[in-house]
């Protein structure tokens, strides 16, 4: 998908969502949440909560000492014979990959699913450089063939039907394709096997990087993670700097959290541990290993103490699964590589609130994501913090709203903070709302309140408690009396002033 330089209009994207998207997305998310509940039950609820806290603490510790762990990682990877590169942004990362490919005369590559490479738009850069690159995760392979973007971090093709996929295979691969998952997977297996065996370069991300040993960790269920990092002679891994972990003990914690949270598995089918290139041709494996460490805005995220926790993310996707907003719109609506709750906090920080200022508002702040996050990222907290960045601006970025909205907020604040103005307003709304109400409901209100009433009616304005309360006590009744007298005096005074003015006008004219 790559970086976008244009404003992400969430509402417009939502209106463009295909009608079948919510149902297919919910099928996947419900499945994942069900299997997750099962394995967490087996693990033990208390033990799981303890593990979540461990995950949170160790990720926090890592991010707080990120420079140290990155330098240690570099030292160990280099010591094991790997090459470490640093990329400030996506363009730099892509050009490093292209340079490696150019030096080795690489014409074709196979790729394991990697969010970092989506972020940088690596596939597009490779295609433009004439390097044929095949996505090898079945879901990614399918969406690549279809020329569409993935709709879920873990299950990219979940919005496509088996009939649609069969058609796709017939058209793009020129093969007989029954609309049956096992047969379709077999077709993909055969096609991709050829590619694995012939590829000159394997490209991957890294789920984690263990600093102490210089080990790259890649998880996979299909086996393509192993294929891409074992068969081609060159392996290039691109990973965000936030993927580093201190040591193997920390990795064990995260490996227990990730598969259970993501898909409800106790462990993925394969986890590869890669420490430098292969030392022996008999062992097999690439003779050259490159690790590209990507910033691309992560240090900016790091700079803010509250939203820094965004970097704890281990990319499990559970926040998507449990988010009611995501479940109604799917991943495309978020307009960028990362969707759902994590996308709503990460994207505005990576791309800036000018581009992604809608995203922190794509949430009801219900808090389900924070309840499920395996590393306890306080997502609603960060959403509210980023909303401030959007509307008021802070040290890092913003503001990015219209002066009209800002002025309205000022007026609102004044009304809500000034008792007499607030009470007057309540009564005024009640009076003004009377002609608009029928049987206790207002079906149509003018904009912007029409945004509410276009969806469902609003109850009629009915402030009246204070007067009821005041009538119950002597002090209250006295207060009411004083107000009536004041109101009466004000009305009489206004009447007298108008009468006097009219008289003087009249006499002035005579």
């Amino acid at each position: 998908m790559g970086q976008t330089a244009t404003h992400i209009d969430f509402r417009a994207n939502v209106r463009a969502v295909e009608p079948q998207m919510p149902a297919s997305v919910q099928k996947a998310t419900n499945r994942f949440l069900g299997t997750r509940a099962s394995v967490v039950g087996v693990f033990g609820e208390d033990r799981w909560q303890q593990l979540r806290q461990c995950g949170h603490d160790l990720r926090r510790h890592t991010i707080a000492h990120l420079d140290h762990y990155l330098e240690l990682l570099e030292q160990r990877v280099t010591g094991a014979g790997g090459h470490v590169h640093w990329a400030r942004d996506g363009a730099e990362a892509n050009s490093i990959v292209l340079e490696i490919a150019r030096k080795q005369g690489v014409r074709n590559a196979v790729k394991v699913k990697s969010m970092a490479t989506e972020e940088t738009g690596l596939n597009q850069a490779l295609i433009e450089a004439g390097i044929a690159t095949l996505e090898t995760d079945l879901g990614e392979f399918i969406v690549q063939l279809a020329g569409v973007a993935p709709s879920h971090i873990i299950a990219p093709a979940v919005h496509l039907t088996k009939e649609g996929i069969a058609d796709l295979f017939r058209q793009k691969l020129g093969v007989e394709a029954p609309a049956e998952p096992v047969a379709l997977a077999a077709i993909a297996r055969a096609r991709l096997r050829k590619a694995f065996l012939a590829a000159e370069m394997g490209i991957s991300g890294a789920n984690f990087m263990v600093a102490e040993t210089g080990t790259l960790v890649i998880v996979s269920n299909e086996g393509n993670g192993r294929m891409c990092t074992t068969l081609p002679p060159i392996h290039v891994a691109l990973a965000g700097i936030d993927k580093v972990l201190p040591d193997m003990e920390s990795l064990a914690v995260v490996l227990k959290l990730l598969p259970r949270s993501a898909t409800g598995q106790k462990m993925t089918s394969y986890v590869s541990f890669i420490r430098g290139p292969s030392k022996s041709s008999k062992e097999g494996g690439p003779h050259e290993l490159h690790l590209i460490l990507l910033d691309n805005g992560r240090t900016r995220v790091l700079a803010d103490e509250i939203s820094r926790d965004t970097l704890l993310c281990i990319r499990c996707g559970v926040c998507l699964n449990v988010c009611p907003v995501y479940n109604h719109v799917g991943g495309h609506a978020y307009g960028s590589a990362y969707s759902g709750p994590i996308g709503s906090i990460l994207t505005p920080q990576l791309l800036g609130v000018g581009i992604a200022g809608d995203l922190p508002f794509a949430s009801t702040l219900c808090g389900a994501c924070a309840e499920y996050c395996p590393v306890r990222i306080p997502i609603p907290e960060i959403l509210v913090h980023l909303r401030r960045r959007v509307v008021e601006g802070d040290r890092v970025d913003g503001p990015a709203i219209s002066p009209v909205v800002s002025a309205a907020a000022g007026a609102g604040a004044a009304a809500l903070g000034t008792p007499w103005l607030y009470e007057f307003g309540s009564q005024a709304l009640k009076v003004a709302g009377t002609p608009l109400s029928k049987e206790g409901w207002m079906a149509h209100l003018p904009p912007p309140a029409s945004r509410w009433t276009d969806v469902r009616p609003m109850p009629a304005f009915g402030a009246g408690f204070r007067d009821w309360w005041r009538n119950r006590t002597p002090q209250g009744r006295r207060l009411l009396w004083r107000r009536r007298v004041l109101a009466g005096a004000a009305a009489a005074g206004a009447f007298a002033a108008i009468a006097a003015w009219r008289l003087t006008r009249k006499s002035g004219r005579d």
Binding site: P324, E371, E423, P459
Partner: protein
Amino acid sequence: MKVQLFLTCLGENFFTPVLRDMVMLLERLGVRCEMPEGQACCGQPLFNAGFQSRTIGPARQLLRAFDRTEGYIVAPSGSCADFVRHRYPELFPPGTPEHTVAVDVAQRTFEFTEFLVKVLKVTEVGARFPHTVTYHASCHILRGLGLRDEPKQLLLGVRGLELIPLAEEETCCGFGGVFTVVNPEVSGAMMGAKVRRIEDSGAEYAVVGEPGCLMNIAGGLHKVGSPVRAVHLIQVLAAQE
């Protein structure tokens, strides 16, 4: 025992009957009520919309209203209670007099069902409501204040009431404050899903503890012409049918 009534802006402008029921119920339980006149809105809508600096004004005013009062501050809303309890101390720099007042008020502020179960320690309030009822767990009551069982304990203490479980009970109804206006399409979709679940439950009444959710769900049920009636939890607890 004496409590200070925290009306909340939505409660005051849309749910006067609920506030009256709250007073009647508290008095029935032997609690004296007072209502500080200077209260308006706690400022949560502004804060959640990102206008954090503009929240100070309303927050100051609310603190002024409740400052020299005594006793628990009770609201018919989890989100308002949650906001005052967890955010107010953060709004003012530690060490300032305002901060001290904020901490005091925050500690005294309770959502209504929380007050009944955790302070008065009652789950049976002498209510009778012989109907089938299903309960929607509002997000701030559930996750903000950690009240999963308390509202249901109170409902189960109501004579004649049959509580029918609601599928996706804990899924957000789509209110989310400014969300209804900023993302009306998604809000409507979430509301529609909640309304369908409520209708599927077969209950006569949908019970909600949060004014915002209630506005949303009641409106949604009315729109589809549903016979299911949405009411505030306090109305059920005050009922003596």
